[in-house]
């Protein structure tokens, strides 16, 4: 089986270990992983900030880079959601509509991909973690079970926190536009996470993790953060 891996811009900018771990996890499952070098970003920042033309310009590039028959695996519920749910809306009535729909059909989040093909990354994992259901993974990709299954298969104990389905307050440009409100929600999330008894919060979305762990660090809450791919990889 051959797939294309989307690196995601956040991973490249802050945490390359996320996409590298994703590739290793997939390869351990016997998947042939192609990481297109020309890829940039799914264009979500511009789209959600209300600049559809600028977003389309970047998304067109992404559609070209990821053209082909393979499934496109994304280690982010949010970026995957952008392609799966956002592209069809973004390119409605545009020349690229067919290609956008095709990409949307082939795109899948990492743990969903593992579940869909019944793949087992199989490796023991240290210590209990708590899982933050990122909003886009939960409500756009309609998914909460696959990451938990993958973690369980890897021998990792998940201690559920209270209100794991509530937004952490990241929200892309929202975090910059309304820092106080965003920070308050992040603090609630960090406290719920640490109260679960786990010391480490895991999520399928790096943006949420950066935000939660950033608030925690500022507030002196001793919380660690790992992307689900990193936990599966260790």
């Amino acid at each position: 089986m051959r797939v294309m891996l989307m690196r995601t811009c956040l991973s490249e900018a802050v945490a390359p270990s996320v996409w590298k771990s994703s590739r290793r996890v997939l390869e351990r499952c016997g998947v042939d992983v192609k990481v297109p070098r020309a890829q940039t970003c799914c264009s979500q920042p511009a789209w959600t900030a209300g600049h559809p033309d600028q977003a389309r310009a970047v998304a067109r590039h992404t559609i070209v880079v990821f053209s082909g028959p393979e499934e496109v695996v994304v280690p982010s519920g949010s970026c995957a959601g952008m392609v799966v749910h956002g592209y069809p809306e973004m390119f409605k009535g545009q020349p690229e509509e067919e290609a956008a729909l095709d990409l949307a059909r082939r795109t899948i989040e990492l743990t969903q991909f593992l579940a869909k093909h019944d793949l087992d990354p199989g490796r023991g994992s240290r210590g209990p973690v708590t899982m933050h259901d990122s909003c886009h993974m939960l409500r756009v990709m309609d998914e909460s079970q696959s990451p938990r299954e993958a973690l369980a298969k890897a021998g990792c104990e998940v201690r559920e926190m209270q209100h794991t389905d509530r937004c952490c307050g990241f929200g892309g440009v929202f975090a910059i536009n309304f820092p106080e409100l965003s920070g308050r929600l992040g603090e609630e999330k960090a406290r719920a996470a640490i109260e679960s008894g786990a010391r480490e919060v895991v999520s399928c979305d790096l943006g949420c993790l950066m935000h939660i762990v950033g608030v925690a660090h500022r507030q002196g809450i001793p919380l660690r953060a790992r992307h689900v791919a990193e936990v599966l990889d260790r």
Partner: protein, 502 residues
């Protein structure tokens, strides 16, 4: 004059008859919040001060508000979740969505049918293009009939068209008769929730307001006592009122009936006691027939606060007929366009399906954190952030920031019983905003777009960013990023290596 509600930081339970003054805020705090436009008369229309962000900061400081919102939203959410499984709310939602979509598609025909049926029943129908026209009609009617006191009930539409203010200008007394609305009128505030306007206040705060209004300490502060007190005070007003103004939850075209849902029984008095009943309805609130009405009237209270039925469902068709024991002598239905008609056939059309249940409000993490007041518009929460800018125009202050006050978490769309994709509409509303801030971010994103559509420039940018991050970082964390990162590091640190160090 500012809000007179005794919030916690201003000292709870201040003595009666002595409005607690707002205590000086901590240094650097702005007195934003809301301010009443006129000094007397107790009308709940407000000027909004400060930017939206300042108002959210102000609200976040208010611990009492936070507690009040938390307890209410948690209990509503739990009741609604119970409904979801007991009654199959999710399946009911599909049908509700279809009904409302077809209503909006057939709106002109449904409205003509409604109009004809109301006239047949002996009522008067007025189509108002905007709020000003609606207000002119209602004040004119009051003046023509020599009415001095107007009793009001349950209406977001009158909040939208600023009817209270118009009546006041014409020297006509307005009394809000729903408990929550009356509390707000006393507090000089505006509603913070579509169906529970005073949800942001607690019992002690309400008791203090009542004592002040009554000019006596002799007001009980338990729930029943407060309701009983309000009932007595308000009944006195019903006797005086010449016109009762109500909102409309649904208009049923096939019979010309207006439905008004409520839990207190005051709307029943407002629509039957005064000589004249004026019902104010947004033009989109019409359904075709009773089959559709029955479904929506069921879904509405379930989605709203997890109630299986509203306590009172008032169904009103025209004025009192010969031989009937009660009801008004005159019935007027004012149907407001106010920018709604223009939304049909646009990418925002679905917003017209809204049945104003309020579910999206309390499912929204932003609304739960700051309450409805901070939005500074009659409609708050996700639906408010979508429709206020639409009704007020793309260059209005509302369109500048309201659609941006969302993390796009999607909880609103999930909660909406008529399946409005609120998060998509929020994104579209952002794209429509033509404020200076949006133009500025547009420039930034044009640059971004040019860099990020080409792998070479993208790589160069990434390399530069990582260098900057490393240079700024100390012990693996950056605490003061420049440029757009400044907003980030205002409340949180940025890990400069991953996994982040503890």
């Amino acid at each position: 004059m500012r809000s007179r509600v005794p919030h916690a930081h201003r000292g709870r339970g201040a003595p009666a008859g002595n409005p607690p003054a707002r205590a000086p805020r901590s240094r650097g705090a702005r007195q934003v919040s809301t301010r009443k436009r006129r000094g007397d008369g107790g009308v709940a229309y407000l000027d909004v001060q400060g930017t939206l962000r300042e108002r959210t900061v102000d609200a976040l400081r208010d611990r009492t508000l936070r507690g009040n919102l938390d307890s209410a939203t948690t209990s509503w959410g739990e009741s609604r979740d119970a409904m979801r499984s007991d009654y199959g709310l999710d399946e009911m939602r599909e049908r509700a969505r279809e009904i409302r979509r077809s209503n909006i598609r057939n709106l002109p025909a449904l409205l003509s049918e409604m109009q004809a049926k109301v006239r047949e029943a002996g009522g008067t129908v007025v189509r108002a293009v905007d709020g000003a026209e609606a207000c002119r009609y209602i004040t004119g009617l009051a003046q023509a009939r020599g009415v001095k006191v107007v009793a009001k009930s349950k209406s977001m539409a009158t909040e939208e068209i600023k009817l209270n203010e118009a009546l006041e200008d014409a020297r006509i007394e307005v009394v809000e008769t729903d408990l929550g609305e009356w509390i707000l009128q006393l507090a000089s505030e505006h509603p913070s929730h579509i169906i529970a306007p005073a949800v942001h206040l607690n019992r002690e705060q309400v008791a203090a307001l009542f004592r002040e209004e009554a000019g006596t300490d002799d007001v009980p502060d338990d729930r029943e006592g407060l309701v009983a007190h309000a009932r007595v005070r308000l009944r006195e007003k019903f006797a005086e009122a010449g016109i009762g103004v109500s909102g409309v939850n649904l208009g049923v075209a096939s019979t010309g009936t207006v439905c008004v849902l409520e839990n207190e029984g005051n709307a029943r008095l407002v629509t039957s006691q005064p000589r004249i009943h004026v019902a104010v309805m947004g033009m989109e609130r019409v359904v075709a027939d009773w089959d559709e009405a029955a479904h929506i009237l069921q879904v509405l209270p379930m989605a709203a606060i997890g109630q299986d039925a509203a306590n009172y469902v008032n169904l009103i068709t025209g004025p009192r007929r010969d031989g009937e024991a009660d009801g008004p002598e005159e019935f007027h239905l004012v149907i407001i366009d106010g920018g709604r008609g223009a939304l049909r056939g646009t990418e925002f059309e679905e917003a017209l399906s809204c049945i104003r249940c309020g579910a999206c409000l309390y499912s929204c993490p932003m609304w739960r954190s700051v309450g409805g007041q901070a939005y500074g518009s009659p409609y708050s929460g996700p639906i408010g952030a979508v429709i206020t800018p639409l009704l007020e125009g793309p260059s209005s202050p509302a369109s500048r920031d309201l659609p941006f006050m969302s993390s796009l978490c999607g909880a609103c769309g999930e909660a909406c019983p008529v399946g409005i994709p609120l998060q998509d509409l929020l994104v579209r509303a952002r794209a429509r905003s033509s404020s200076p801030a949006t133009r500025k971010s547009g420039m930034a994103f044009r640059a971004w777009s040019r860099l990020w559509r080409r792998p070479s420039t993208y790589r160069a940018w990434m390399a530069g960013w990582r260098l900057m991050l490393r240079a700024r970082g100390k012990d693996g964390w950056a605490t003061d990023l420049p440029g757009p990162g400044a907003g980030w590091t205002q409340v949180r640190d940025m890990p400069t290596r991953w996994p982040p160090r503890r």
